[in-house]
């Protein structure tokens, strides 16, 4: 991946595409978990910022991941300040219209199951308090270290550990205690 980043810095389109395929879905889930409207637009804005900053970027894959989600977090704050926040329910996932016949390893049934599981997980994360949702998403989805999450959130590492622990604990409790009829929360 370090080589890919280096090639992307030089403007290699394939390397840029590889970076995008590796991280774009994580950015989308982060924005969806944070209840942001139009996560595709926000993710696109993040990638444009990444492209603008790539010539100045120095670091390995871990640094790139931390930098990427730092940009995403700032984009989210900017979007909130711009009063562009909308409920995630308004975001229409283009299941049928844009899904094409590109080669995927999964068959249609698996894709549907995983998409449903993802929707349920994100819906659970949205029920968390803001701090806990942010910490869980950055720690779990972005796979950042506690120190990186603390740096992005402007909190101490101990505080981040507590937020992640309480967030995951609340997610587990919620998924278990929901009524059986609400299958959305049964994972």
């Amino acid at each position: 991946m370090d080589e890919v980043i280096e090639r992307a810095r030089g403007g290699d389109r394939d390397a840029l595409a590889q970076l995008w395929r590796t991280y774009n879905h994580l950015i989308l889930r982060y924005f969806r978990g944070r209840n942001m409207g139009e996560p595709d637009d926000l993710a696109s804005a993040v990638w444009i910022d990444v492209a603008r900053g790539l010539p100045r970027f120095v670091g390995d894959e871990g640094d790139f991941r931390r930098w990427l989600f730092t940009i995403a977090a700032r984009r989210r704050v900017d979007a909130i300040r711009s009063n562009q926040r909308r409920r995630i329910e308004t975001w229409q996932r283009p299941h049928d219209s844009t899904r094409n016949d590109r080669a995927f390893a999964m068959d249609t049934a698996d894709v549907a199951d995983q998409a449903a599981a993802l929707d349920r997980a994100i819906a659970l994360v949205q029920t968390l308090p803001d701090d806990q949702a942010e910490a869980v998403l950055l720690r779990v989805v972005a796979d950042l270290s506690v120190s990186d999450v603390a740096h992005i959130m402007g909190r101490t590492e101990g505080h981040v550990r507590v937020l992640v622990h309480r967030g995951l604990e609340k997610l587990s409790d919620t998924s278990v205690t929901k009524p059986p009829g609400e299958t959305m929360y049964q994972l």
Partner: protein
């Protein structure tokens, strides 16, 4: 671990697994459009900070050099701006190094009206009003300038001419306005009749000291070159006590060529006259 904890952990793992699952097809939409925007943004991105820093350093160096150049011109003295100052008759003109306020417009008018020779090459200070040629020193030559002005002030009429006159002033303190004013390097002509009393080995201080102990005026000894090193003067000759163009280490006062100093109070403008104070013997 209880059964409930096991269930929570399992559910947590399921949630985490779902959040970390590979990209789904709908999450790969708009790839082509986003990549096109990224490539465009990459090529239009600002240059790296190293280049910008380099350009900042170059700009800073240019500004520094320009500042030093301007500072050098200013430090070169007011002579460089003199033509502009002379051409400008505005009373608001400020001369570099000038601590004397500019004269009032009325004074400038008067100066223009009755002044014929105030455009001399005075070097550093502001131009002084030309002395009235019709004014004559009323007191004796031994009275200083303050006494002259004071006596004139007690007389009826205007005493401006007395204040502007050179009466009682040391010969070396010329006003620098006259045609004879120069850059201040000329020294007062020493007395041609003075001969070095001591031998050639005596220094200048010893010469002056011995002359001070003798009766009569002793400024000629002070103004002489007796006992000075041969190379100490900047004049054309080193041993020309009689030479009127003996340029010594002038201190900026404007020399007034003329007869040798005839009074004990007359200084030569270069500080040597102060050494001629008569010391009581013993």
């Amino acid at each position: 671990m209880t059964g409930n904890d096991h269930t929570n952990a399992l559910n947590g793992d399921v949630i985490t697994g779902a959040l970390r699952s590979p990209a789904l097809p709908f999450e790969r939409d708009h790839e082509a459009a986003v990549l096109a925007d990224m490539v465009e943004a990459l090529w239009t991105a600002p240059e790296p900070s190293s280049l910008r820093r380099h350009r900042r350093v170059v700009a800073f160096a240019a500004v520094t050099v320009a500042s030093l150049g301007v500072g050098g011109i200013i430090a070169a003295g007011p002579g460089g701006f003199r033509p502009f100052i002379n051409d400008d008759k505005s009373p608001a003109t400020t001369v570099f190094g000038d601590s004397v306020p500019a004269p009032a417009p009325d004074d400038l008018d008067d100066e223009d009206d009755d002044d014929d020779d105030d455009d001399g090459g005075g070097g550093g200070g502001t131009e002084r009003i030309t002395t009235d040629p019709d004014f004559e020193c009323a007191d004796s030559d031994n009275a200083n300038h303050g006494q002259t002005v004071s006596s004139a002030a007690q007389a009826p009429g205007s005493n401006r001419a007395a204040a502007q006159s050179e009466c009682g002033k040391p010969l070396g303190s010329g006003n620098g306005n006259g045609e004879t004013g120069n850059s201040g390097n000329e020294r007062i002509t020493a007395d041609p009749d003075f001969d070095c009393v001591d031998g050639d080995n005596a220094n200048h201080g010893q010469t002056v000291s011995s002359a001070a102990k003798a009766p009569g005026p002793n400024n000629a000894a002070a103004q002489s070159e007796c006992g000075k090193p041969v190379g100490s003067g900047t004049g054309e000759t080193d041993d020309n006590v009689e030479d009127e163009t003996n340029n010594g280490n002038g201190n900026g006062n404007y020399g007034v060529p003329g007869p040798p100093a005839s009074t004990p109070d007359n200084g030569n403008g270069n500080g040597h006259a102060n050494t001629t104070t008569t010391q009581p013997a013993g």
